[in-house]
Amino acid sequence: MIDEDLVFKALADTSRRFLLDLLRERDGQTLGELEWELEMTRFGVMKHLKVLEEAGLVITRKEGREKLHFLNAVPIRQIHDRWIDKYKEHQVSALVDLKQSLEKQKWSKAKKTA
């Protein structure tokens, strides 16, 4: 599971955010391509990419001899959704809660019979 702390820590660095921006601009880049855009040693870029990968923000895929890096914004989306969700929860009435728990039961029941 994605650890929120890892996501926040990964985002709390200018170089790492810049790397994500580069991938947002063009997904699927090699270390060499990314390294070219940063004033940093290859080792430094590798270290940053590793932090991003551990946070689930970057996904790597082998293509032939190359290792390509892809931006995965899903963990950011999840943090966003959780906050919206939490904020909304303060406003929902008991009735809505009841509706949701009933629907949840329906879902698990349906899954069992499926």
Binding site: G28, E33, Q78, D81
Partner: protein
Amino acid sequence: MVEGKKDSVTHVHRIYIRASAQAIWDAITDPEWNGKYGYQAVQEYELKPGGKYRAIANEGMKQYGLPETIIDGEILEVKPPFKLVQSYRWHFSPEHVAEGFTKLTYEITPTSAGFCSLTITHDATGAPLMSAATQTPFNEQGGGGWDWILSDLKSLLETGKTMGA
């Protein structure tokens, strides 16, 4: 922009879900469930190579003037409940139709810790409109793309709640 890398445009999206591979597979391929999250359009899958895929406009989409079939495609590979490869084309506008088919790969991988990873690889080469639209943040016009769909799918499977419900 660095030259090279063909003109390939691929995006990868991954989420971890506390649910069985079968439950995730059903949530994607079963019309009973796949209309409940994300953009809430029911999708029909003919689960065999060469089989048809289509997403049907919901009432809101029809009122908005979208056609009955909003997305179509063909099933290319089926390995239930772990892998599904399909082609995928939007019918939101004539421009989208003209972009032609892109390729979607769903991969569900169980872990020993009792949850699964779900990875969507979208090869949107040659479809710049679709590629850009699936990368936009959520907005009232229906942005959000795969990140939003996956996050909502996870909510549905883990809590029974979706953002839209």
